[in-house]
């Protein structure tokens, strides 16, 4: 009985991870092509995908370097995009059990996609499993497609928009969010987080709106009567506002 449940859960996670890994492939090709266009040799492009492993930050840094930007501006823009990993780490830490070096190794896989699949699961071991399956999958595909893009494609940006692949990522994130929306505190948090992120897009460097969305948690219990809060459906003490 339990084995059947486990197998079903694994299959569900594999399906989620497969869609999200596939959605990354065209962006890897575009990154490889963009790095080539910016004048980076193949080894440097590969270095970014292997060692930094953070899609949007790689794009930002390479774009700035290609435009003749300074080392500082490229590195700072890239790092700002990855500050959100700090928050991802707090979410995933309890699930990423292991020796310190195992935890360090698993940390390298920490990106939007692995955190999204991991955090969408409910039990700790499935969070770890989902995180690792999506993380390893994206890591392999991202690195292979970086090479492919660098050597074979230039101007692959059209491919993404023509096939509508730029909607695959957001659709996958929405699908991972969906089951949480049936709980009121989760739903309020999601709505508040989305609004905070949206409002900040024009004012903050890319990456920061996603980080700031975490403040949406403050709205989880807004409008919930103290009695409901006291009976365990919310925090025991004062309602945060």
């Amino acid at each position: 009985m339990n084995e059947v449940d486990d197998a079903a859960r694994k299959r569900a996670i594999h399906r989620q991870a497969a869609s999200i890994v596939a959605s990354v492939a065209p962006f890897g090709i575009v990154f490889g092509a963009a790095a080539a266009t910016a004048g980076l040799p193949l080894l440097q492009a590969m270095g970014f995908s292997l060692f930094v492993f953070g899609g949007s930050s790689q794009f930002a840094a390479v774009e700035i370097l290609g435009d003749g930007g300074s080392i500082a501006s490229a590195a700072i823009a890239g790092l700002l995009l990855n500050v959100r990993s700090l928050a991802f780490g707090v979410i995933m830490a309890p699930a990423l059990v292991g020796t310190w070096w195992q935890r360090a190794a698993m940390s390298q896989l920490m990106i939007d996609e692995s955190t999204a699949v991991g955090a969408a699961q409910h039990e700790r071991r499935w969070r770890r499993y989902g995180y690792l399956v999506a993380g390893v999958g994206v890591f392999v595909v991202w690195n292979l497609t970086t090479v492919l893009g660098h050597v074979a494609f230039a101007g692959a940006g059209d491919l993404i928009t023509e096939l509508g692949l730029d909607a695959a990522g957001p659709a996958a994130f929405l699908a991972l969010l969906w089951p949480r929306l049936s709980s009121a505190p989760q739903r309020r948090t999601a709505i508040a987080g989305a609004l905070i992120a949206l409002a900040l897009i024009p004012f903050a460097p890319p990456g920061v709106p996603i980080l700031a969305s975490m403040l949406g948690v403050a709205f989880a219990w807004v409008g919930v009567p103290r009695l409901a809060v006291a009976d365990g459906s919310g925090p025991e003490t004062e309602t945060p506002s």
Partner: protein
Amino acid sequence: MSDATVVLIVMTVGTFAFKSAGPLVLGDRSLPVRVQQVVDLLPAALLAALTIVSTMGDGRAIVVDARLVGVVVAGVALWRKLPFVVVVVVASAATALTRLIS
């Protein structure tokens, strides 16, 4: 060393520090109940923000384009309880189709 190599090294070190801080510093020690309640809610905020930013964000601009059509279609597919893979495929197809006819 070329500029790109310096940026690569700085970003590798900095990014790994951000990624590993939680797992290495917090580890799997259990957090106070109040903190745990907040952490349980964080994925909802995170997933919603990833959805909205990858739907309507374009650098520092908020844009309404064919991606939004795809994500709305994804929402309908989820409401109809369609499987994950189908949701992603119909969203891409709807976005591609929107671009084709507009």
